[in-house]
């Protein structure tokens, strides 16, 4: 591989200004009234650095992994590299066009036909008309939607829609490619196709930046990685070392303060906020077969009735692996509420996990309105299995994260004649 740079980031920083106001819904009238009432007072402003003093370099043909918890600054970094938002400090030098599969299908319009959307989406992603013309057949072929090219995409099945959107993005001919977590949303075949593409792109001399919670994918493709924590670059180096540092950092702690974490949705956490999370009374450890108890406090601005709790278990290497919705509903009073959610038999195998939490109304059969939700909060560890005789098992993480208590197996002999008869 050549060692020509594809991208260089120097002292990059992004600060968001948070105005402290009493009301969240800003209207012009409120601003005007407030100014009139307090002509000399300036809104208290606080600068929050989502990313600070980040420096790294990426060569052509290299795949760089970006690792970090939620809120570490990974998405901010991607938004800066794609120029969606502007940096507050530092600089980015690019030796090529940047393409991203951050948002597959961005700009797709349901009323437009497949053909129209390919051209519109291609232009939005930065392709010229000539490039799209040249790639058009390949894109349509890849998506397998030839017969529906002149049908509005609102009549497409969701599968066709995603395939067409991905096909456009996959045919971007940019020198630098950014791949985000979003890829993990598709089905297995889709992910597989994406990851194959990563390998192919890197070997063709493109530079790829891979952002994922899926440490397995990072280990597989990225030679070098950077670790972000609270907006700062903590470590840069060979992927295996960086991944080790990341997993070692995830020390279980007595309880997790959720204040610095990013909400899944910006409106969540306004009416009620999950503040601290504790697993198994602060031990953050459970023996194999022990119930999982997650206790958390919710600071509620108003009483809320009939709320449902949903609990998600994430594996540090494989992403979300299990989810539970509470059957009974809880009520919240104004102020602090303590809630405990228990999974009697989590069936988790030895390893390290994180807890995702959401509180809200509704279920997955209808509309869901979450008051607050966090993808990753507390970390906990599950111990190795121990049998009745005290033998300690050695669980191989490659076997998976969930152990079924048993499976039913039957056997019966097959005589040669029977086998022939069945065939």
């Amino acid at each position: 591989m050549s060692s020509d740079p594809a991208l260089r980031v120097e002292g990059l920083g992004k600060a968001y200004t948070i105005k402290h106001q009493h009301n969240d819904h800003v209207t012009l009238a409120q601003v005007a009234l407030d100014r009139a009432a307090h002509p000399l007072r300036r809104n208290e402003r606080e600068q929050i650095w989502a990313l600070q003093d980040v420096t790294f370099e990426l060569d052509q043909g290299e795949v760089l992994g970006v690792i970090g918890r939620n809120g570490a600054g990974k998405s901010t970094l991607l938004k800066l590299l794609t120029r969606i938002t502007q940096p507050t400090a530092g600089r980015i030098d690019l030796w090529g066009r940047v393409g991203s599969l951050l948002e597959v299908g961005t700009g797709f319009h349901p009323e437009l036909t497949g053909r129209e959307n390919v051209y519109l989406n291609g232009s939005i992603l930065g392709m010229t008309r000539k490039e799209i013309d040249r790639q058009f057949d390949a894109i349509v072929d890849f998506a397998g939607v030839e017969r529906f090219l002149d049908t509005p995409v609102k009549r497409y099945s969701s599968g066709m829609y995603v395939r067409l959107a991905f096909a456009v993005a996959a045919h971007l001919e940019t020198e630098i490619l950014l791949l985000d977590e979003v890829l993990a949303v598709g089905d297995v075949e889709f992910q597989d196709r994406c990851f194959k593409k990563v390998g192919a792109l890197a070997s063709s001399g493109r530079a790829v930046i891979l952002v994922s919670h899926n440490l397995g994918a990072i280990r597989q493709f990225a030679t070098q990685s950077i670790l972000l924590d609270r907006g700062e670059l903590v470590q840069i180096g060979p992927t295996l070392e960086v991944v080790d540092r990341y997993t070692a950092d995830e020390r279980p702690i007595a309880s997790v303060d959720t204040a610095p974490m990013t909400r899944m949705d910006s409106t969540w956490g306004v009416g009620a906020r999950i503040t601290t999370v504790t697993v198994n009374d602060g031990a953050h450890h459970l023996a194999a077969g022990e119930p999982l108890r997650v206790r958390f406090t919710v600071d509620s601005a108003a009483p809320h009735h009939r709320q449902r709790v949903s609990l998600q278990i994430n594996s540090l290497t494989a992403g979300p692996i299990a989810h539970a919705f509470s059957g009974e509903t809880v009520s919240l009073t104004t102020g602090l509420n303590q809630i405990e959610a228990t999974v009697a038999d989590p069936r988790l195998t030895a390893g390290r996990y994180t807890v995702g939490l959401a509180i809200g109304a509704g279920d997955f059969y209808g509309r869901m309105d979450n008051l607050d939700g966090l993808l990753e909060t507390a970390t906990f560890e599950v111990g190795q299995p121990v049998d009745e005789r005290g033998r300690v098992g050695q669980w191989n993480p490659a076997w998976g994260s969930i152990l079924y208590p048993s499976i039913e197996v039957t056997s019966c002999p097959i005589s040669e004649n029977d086998a022939l008869g069945e065939a």
Binding site: S2, D4, A6, R8, Y16, V26, T27, L28, A29, V31, Q60, K79, L80, T82, R83, I84, T85, Q86, P87, T88, A89, G90, R91, I92, D93, L94, W95, G96, R97, V98, L102, E103, T106, G107, H109, E111, L112, E116, Y119, L120, S123, I124, L125, G126, T128, R129, E173, T174, E175, S204, G205, R206
Partner: protein, 288 residues
């Protein structure tokens, strides 16, 4: 994302980066070069708007013709028949109104569409990069269709009725550009402000409605009572509408002072709009 980097693999030893991203504090939203690079996308945005406007409408594109005729018809009826105002001698009231409508259509549509275009494309703005100015500019392009149709309708009517524009017709492009500048300036200003302050989306239609009656679209400045004349002339649209009509159907020419005021006002409006847009665009993706 430029045309000059089509080769997938870069020349070895290339030292100069293709693009450097730095914090920016400029009063200009985008360099003309950057806009030129993205011209295809602008055309595509405009084409999308036009396609979507008439898709799923049975009459389809016919609406482009019907709407200005209906508009001019209603205004002619209200001002010409109900209020019994007089058109300048020799010009049918309907022709007079339609001439006003050409300028008004351009102004009101560009202003309304450009104001709403940032919020209307919030999903796009938050997720991909392109010069943000492209969106309001594309509304000018897509509005041209409506303007050209009204203009052609007027030409047909002029031929039928025998009304002839005088030599003032040579000034037509100036009036038209001024109307576009004024509307785009306002559209940029309101469009940028609408991102953090959604109130604007309720104010703009009301303001446009008010302006339709407060500007001499369907009546002449001459029919305005002398006492209110001064306030009318403060409205930059007054000079532009009178000027446009002078060029199109040969009505009285606006005074030089009024014309100069309107033209300068329009230019300043465009510059203010560009400046405010530029100042605010940096936070669009963060706020939208």
């Amino acid at each position: 994302m430029t045309d000059d980097a089509k080769s997938a693999v870069l020349a070895p030893g290339q030292a100069k980066p293709l693009l450097t991203i730095r914090p920016r504090r400029s009063w200009l939203p985008a360099s003309p070069r950057e806009l030129w690079r993205f011209r295809e996308l602008m055309v595509r945005f405009a084409a999308r708007d036009i396609t979507l406007r008439y898709r799923q409408a049975i009459l389809g594109v016919v609406w482009v013709i019907v709407v200005p005729l209906l508009g001019a018809g209603i205004l002619s009826f209200v001002f010409g028949s109900v209020a019994s105002l007089q058109a300048p001698p020799g010009i049918p009231y309907f022709v007079f109104t339609l001439a006003g409508m050409v300028a008004w259509t351009a102004f009101s549509l560009i202003l309304t569409r450009a104001s709403g275009v940032m919020v209307g494309n919030a999903q796009l703005v938050g997720k991909v990069y392109f010069p943000r100015l492209l969106l309001p500019l594309s509304t000018v392009l897509s509005t041209l269709v409506d303007v050209v149709v009204s203009f052609v309708l007027l030409l047909v009517l002029l031929m039928i009725t025998g009304v002839r524009p005088g030599w003032g017709v040579i000034a037509l492009p100036i009036w038209f550009l001024a109307v576009v500048a004024l509307a785009l300036g306002g559209g940029l200003l309101f469009g940028a402000l609408m991102v953090p302050y959604r109130d604007i989306q309720y104010i703009v239609p009301v303001g446009v409605q008010f302006l339709l009656f407060a500007s001499p679209v369907a009546y002449t400045l001459a029919s305005v009572p002398a006492g209110a004349r001064f306030w009318y002339e403060l409205n930059p649209l007054t000079g532009l509408l009178e000027g446009m009509r002078w060029s199109l159907i040969g009505t009285t020419r606006p005074s030089l002072g009024l014309a100069a005021y309107s033209l300068v006002f329009s230019l300043v409006a465009l510059m203010v709009g560009l400046m405010v847009f530029s100042r605010m665009e940096r936070q669009f993706a963060d706020v939208i």
